[in-house]
């Protein structure tokens, strides 16, 4: 089984995003927020069948750990109350996808974070998604200010209540920024990668996993710059008298394979242990074209992993399936529930 741990619902029916824009406009203008749009199962079915499901079939992957569109979380665009309505609408849509395609998608939720808001305010929605909707993880935005980075690092105590809930529910968080309102940072070309790199370094500086030994973070986009600069990070840890990174961080931190060329994927697999790498493509996502050097889509990351010559079958099985089942501890049970003859997504 090939599990893609990083897919966003980037193809949701346009009414969905249009509602968010209407909500933001109403908040800005002091008018009343319109009711949520009515979106039919057929609309959702079509958006998936012509989008992510088609790609799963073309590329021979089986299950996508699926979450709302990351760029649309836009936690910086409204306050926690408004973002709670938006997050619930996004998560409910993911739940519908998982109910319509229970063999192909399993849910991960967006959290109703907001710039300057207490992360503890997200626990109610996290709990609803995990306990009621059968979701197996969340996306956690380390910069709800949208590129201003005005909040505290991820090791700050203000995050602890949320981490306690993650630990209690036994779900991991993918560290994933949203769009950027800072013109210095292109979203997918800079802000995403910087977010990954910055949080890894925050974790190296702090000692978060001493307090939360079972907390698990997935750092997407191949870990940002981290594997490329693995010597720098090993050296910084050493200069800072931290333990070896393998012991200090790699029981809790995992990287996905969203690196869109063969040399990058090979570097990742060379320096990071196979047990810490989760297959992912982020389709349909940041890069949509076909690489003229290969004739295949840049984000067809399965080809890169398949082509790494030194990986043995056991390592490839970890990357494609085993690690996802370990890191997303609820996956196996939830998938059985979704795919049992009389089951539902939750």
């Amino acid at each position: 089984m090939i599990i893609d741990c990083h897919g966003h619902y980037t193809t949701s029916p346009p009414e969905h995003q249009a509602w968010r824009q209407a909500q933001l406009a109403a908040l800005r203008d002091g008018t009343s927020v319109p009711p949520l749009p009515s979106i039919s199962d057929d609309q959702i079915r079509e958006s998936i069948e012509t989008g992510q499901l088609r790609i799963q079939r073309e590329r021979g992957t089986d299950l996508t750990i699926f979450s709302p569109r990351a760029a649309s979380m836009a936690h910086h665009e409204a306050d926690a109350a408004a973002n709670a309505v938006w997050s619930a609408a996004c998560n409910d849509q993911i739940h519908r996808v998982c109910n319509l395609f229970p063999r192909n998608f399993i849910g991960v939720c967006q959290l109703p974070q907001a710039s300057g808001a207490d992360p503890a305010g997200c626990i109610v929605e996290l709990r609803r998604c995990v306990e009621e909707l059968g979701f197996i993880g969340c996306n956690l935005n380390p910069d709800p200010s949208g590129g201003h980075w005005s909040g505290p690092p991820m090791t700050d105590y203000s995050w602890y209540p949320l981490y306690e809930a993650l630990v209690e529910l036994d779900v991991p968080a993918m560290i994933h920024v949203s769009s950027s309102c800072n013109p210095n940072f292109h979203a997918t070309g800079a802000h995403y990668i910087n977010g990954d790199t910055s949080v890894f370094m925050q974790l190296l500086q702090g000692d978060l996993f001493a307090d939360f030994p079972t907390l698990k973070f997935i750092i997407p986009h191949g870990g940002g710059a981290v594997p490329y600069h693995w010597g720098r990070y090993r050296g910084l840890a050493q200069d800072m008298e931290r333990p070896l990174l393998e012991k200090y961080l790699l029981n809790n931190v995992f990287f996905d394979t969203c690196v869109y060329h063969q040399p990058g994927a090979e570097l990742l697999a060379k320096v990071i242990p196979a047990k810490n790498i989760l297959f992912a493509s982020e389709t349909i996502g940041a890069v949509r074209g076909i690489d003229p050097q290969t004739g295949f889509h840049y984000d067809d990351t399965r080809r890169y992993i398949d082509a790494i010559p030194w990986l043995d079958d056991a390592e490839r099985a970890l990357i494609f399936e085993g690690n996802a089942r370990t890191v997303y501890s609820r996956l196996t049970r939830q998938y059985a529930l979704q795919t049992s003859p009389h089951g539902e997504a939750a």
Copy 2:
């Protein structure tokens, strides 16, 4: 000849940094700024002989393109007028190093940038350093706010007068942030790397080199995350209907080799053309320890380049010497001047 294009004077006599702290304290307290400290040639000689020069000899490198300590630029800590005094002091010190060791060091200057200040204010000091002190380039901080990124991207017109001066003087700029006052960004573990990545993406978004076809930027630290995500950047450029990156950016953008492990250095040399890679170590810098996996210093980057099996002699000569002479167009002439029997650094 092996030219290291990225060395900072991190070992300057302590009186130098102490003066900056005194200057900042005086500005804060409204008292008068003390006079610059008197530092003897012997002090400078010792700091270099026991530091960078010793390492040059140990590692068999010949010439370091030498600039003031990047973390100490700290453009966010004072206004442009105070930073002008500090930059001049730092640059004068580099000039003394080059005069004392004309065969081993050639100067690159710090600019008196400040958060919110017009970059054109730096031209006077740039011109002084190039025309009077014989410097061959500058370090340019893309975020003089020190981690808040509150200024405009590098493609903004406000930078243009400075770029015009760089073009006129025929000197390149190394894009290099300074320290970070944002707790989200560790300086050498996040802010430096993010700065590199962010600026590359700004250049991909904009079309700066259409306006300045001879302007040259060195993106240090191996180009941040860029080579690791080279497929992402090629794909983003393609989606954005930009030309191939080789044509669009690689006549003007160069990467250094400050990547502190063999797999990272190999990735760099695999995806980036040899003509765009400049040897560098950033010693004595971010990472000071010995890698237990190799028994050598993490920042002994010459070993990594030497050990890349597929580089031929011509490519290695470009990386070690030729590209530095091309990108720093004044290098060859200035070096001859410095090392002629009757010459001085300028």
